[in-house]
Structures are given as C-alpha cells and as structure tokens.
C-alpha cells in the first residue's frame, strides 16, 4: 500500500465517525466537534489525493482547496459555537431535547 492509499482510506473512516457522531451524540459542543471531525476526514481525502503523483512538488490545488475549506469550516464552526453558547446562556439547555 502506498502512503496516500492508507490515508485516503482513513479519511472516509474519520468522516463516517464524524457523520455518526453528529446524529448520535446529543450535546451541542460534541455535535460541533463532530462536524469538525467530518471536515478533517474530507480534507484528509483531498490531501491524500494530492500525494499521488509527485513531480517536483505534490499537487498544489488540493492543498489550496483544503486551506480555503479549513478557514470556511472553522468560521462556520465558530458561528455554531457562538449560537450554542448563547442558547446555553439564555435557557441553560445543552441539547436539542426538550426539558422534562
């Protein structure tokens, strides 16, 4: 197995863990972290494909895409965090489930 193959296979595993996490865990913070983990999987997938054929340097396009993607994803995650904290501050709730 080549290095890039190992990592591209890992990437979907991480993605699946994050995907499962988003739906199965309840706490806001965990849900948000799960989306960031999903993002990590996707970006790993991109970067592993960049390593396939090396000329003088690995394929720069996925690298640039991933940097863009990280910035965008972190912005979205920061926004989600701010919403979650705001909700917690107002209502004291930590999950979407209705309080009994």
């Amino acid at each position: 197995m080549e290095t890039w193959e190992i990592y591209s296979l890992t990437s979907v595993v991480i993605f699946a863990i994050g995907l499962g996490g988003v739906f199965l865990v309840k706490h806001f913070l965990r849900k948000i972290i799960a989306t960031v983990i999903m993002g990590g999987g996707v970006f790993l997938c991109f970067v592993s494909f960049a390593k396939r054929d090396t000329l003088n340097f690995p394929d720069p396009v996925p690298h640039a895409l991933v940097i863009t993607g990280i910035v965008v994803a972190v912005t979205a995650a920061a926004f989600a965090l701010s919403l979650a904290r705001r909700i917690h501050k107002i209502t004291g709730e930590e999950t979407f489930e209705e309080k009994e």
Binding site: T3, E5, I6, Y7, S8, T10, V12, V13, I14, F15, I17, G18, L19, F23, L24, V25, K26, H27, F28, L29, R30, I33, A34, I37, G40, F43, L44, C45, V47, S48, A50, K51, R52, D53, L55, N56, F57, P58, D59, P60, V61, H63, A64, V66, I67, T68, I70, V71, V72, V74, T75, A77, A78, F79, L81, S82, A84, R85, E94, T95
Partner: protein, 318 residues
C-alpha cells in the same frame, strides 16, 4: 518501515476520533479533539502538505482550540471547581442504559453507517493512482507572480475562491454578532493581569508572534506559509493581549474597528474590479505586478482576518 508510521498515525486518528465522540465527559471530548488535531497535523506533513499543516495548527487547532476551551468553561459546571469529579450528564451514546425502543434506532443507524463506510471504502479504493493538476500548476507558475505553487493557486489561479473565503470570515463575524446581539464592546476597563510572570510572558510572546507571523507572510511567496497562517498568529496577539487585560481591540473606535476588519476583503474586491476595468477580466493581475499585488492583498487580508478573529474571541468571552 514507513508503512508502520503511516499505519500507526492512521489508526491513532481514527481511534481518537472515535473516542472523542464516545468520551463520557465534555472536557475529555475537547482535549481528545486537541490530540486528534495534532495527529492530523502530523498526517498532513506525511502527505507533504506543509501549508495545510501550518493552517491546521494555526486555525483549526489554535483558534478553534481557544474557542472550544472557552466554551468548555461555559458548558461544564465543574470547570470553575477545577476537579471534575462532579457528576456530569453522561454522554447519550453510552449504550448501556437504553431501553429496547432506543436500541432499535441505534442499531439501525450503526448498520447504516457501516454500510456507508463499506461503500465509501470501495469508492476510495477505485480512485486511480494518478492525475492531478500538479503539471498544469507547474507550467503556469512563472506567470503567477508567486514562486510557491500553493500560494499561486490560492492568490492567483483560484483567487476568486479566496476572495469569497476572505469575505466568509467577515460574514461569520457579522453572523456571530447577529446571534449574540449587537452591543458595545466592553471598554478596556480591566486592569492588566496582576501576575508578573503572565505579564512578562505576554510581553515576550507578542513580538515573537508578530515577527513570526510577518515571516510566514513574507515566506508565503516562496514556501509554505501565507496570509491565513500569518493572520491567525496575529490574531493570537489580539487574543493574548485581551487575556492579559490589554483590550486593544476594544480601545479602538467603532469606525476604526470596522475599517480594519473590512480593509482586506474590500481591497481584494476593489483590486478585482480595477483590474477588470483595465483588462476586462476580473482579478487578472498583469504578470509584471502580480507578485507585488499579491503581497499587498495578502498583507491586508491577514490584518483584517487577525482583527476579525480577535473580535470573535473578544465578543464571545465578554
């Protein structure tokens, strides 16, 4: 031997991601996530993506880490008690205490995930072992005004994406304001931190962060580094000073804050329009000035992003 390193890293990330989701305590989740980010950065290095590693270390681990720690304090009842032996609501994924009606959807979703994973692994294995754009990028590199291919892609070949990306940070900031309510940033009334060691540390690290950020910005032309990485380091200055009690961002006037935060995307956009007025093509740098223009755009973008990150942090903590 290399296979062993890669395999170990791969297993470790997957395991950490898994544990991160299943950890019973919130603080465990957050700190496991930090470890996950670190291993991920090592993986980027193994894949030759040094730019991505710096970006990951700076943005995803550094900035996100600070925000997560800060949120952890908000959410975790035991945080101020320091020892977290207080009962926390257990993570709902803990399967032990579930009734049958809860088992069925859990098993169903687990099976669905496994199926998803199976198809995904098949699909990834079919990806051919060659065929990226490296050759294209290398051929066009001399015209781009940057010596480093990633910078050339970011700031020239796909500059339109990057323009939107710089604007996204501004939008994120506005959206966070929208969620939290517009209020004046608190006046810089807090006295600077009393602890002499902390003060000293902040005063030492501030110039270090600034210089290293500038170094990354400058070196971005010819090697790994660039605007986003520099921006986070500069943003870290703002956060650090804020933590030490010097609320430089709050001390600025409203108008000044706005100008600083908007300068980057605005200049980027206006450059694009100006170049369109000149040659009819949006963001078409003339090759002679490309390097110069890219450097100015990067610098302004870095300053704006740094200010935006500081603002996000200051807004969320206050």
């Amino acid at each position: 031997m290399e296979l062993l390193t890669d395999g170990l890293l791969a297993l470790l990330t997957a395991y950490l991601a898994f544990r991160c989701m299943l950890a019973p305590k919130l603080s465990k989740t957050v700190f496991t996530f930090f470890a996950f980010g670190l291993i991920l950065a090592l993986m980027w290095i193994r894949l030759g993506a040094v730019d991505v590693a710096i970006a990951e270390a700076a943005i995803a681990s550094g900035f996100m880490g600070v925000l997560l720690l800060d949120s952890l304090r908000d959410f975790s009842p035991s945080y101020s008690e320091f020892e977290d032996n207080i009962e926390q609501p257990p993570n709902q994924v803990a399967f032990a205490k579930r009734s049958l009606s809860q088992w069925v959807p859990a098993i169903a979703s687990g099976a669905g995930l496994l199926l998803f994973l199976f198809i995904a692994l098949q699909a990834v294995r079919e990806v051919p072992a060659g065929g990226g754009l490296a050759a294209f990028a290398e051929a066009k590199l001399p015209e781009s005004g940057a010596e480093h291919p990633v910078t050339a892609v970011l700031l020239n070949f796909r500059a339109y994406d990057t323009l939107l990306e710089v604007a996204v940070i501004l939008m994120g900031l506005l959206a966070i304001f929208a969620a939290g309510g517009i209020r004046q940033f608190r006046k810089p009334s807090l006295p600077p931190a009393k602890d002499p060691v902390l003060r000293k540390a902040i005063l030492i690290f501030t110039p270090l962060l600034f210089l290293f950020g500038a170094f990354l910005l400058y070196i971005g032309k010819s090697g790994p580094g660039g605007a986003f990485q520099a921006a986070v380091l500069w943003g870290a200055i703002g956060i650090l000073l804020h933590l030490g009690g010097w609320r430089i961002f709050n001390a600025l006037s409203r108008r000044m804050r706005r100008i600083i935060i908007i300068a980057g995307p605005l200049f980027f956009l206006l450059t694009g329009f100006a170049l369109m007025a000149r040659s009819g093509t949006f963001l078409a740098y003339p090759p002679a000035f490309a390097g110069f223009l890219i450097l100015i755009i990067e610098t302004l973008a870095a300053v704006s992003i740094a200010a935006a990150l500081t603002a996000i942090y200051a807004f969320l903590t206050d």
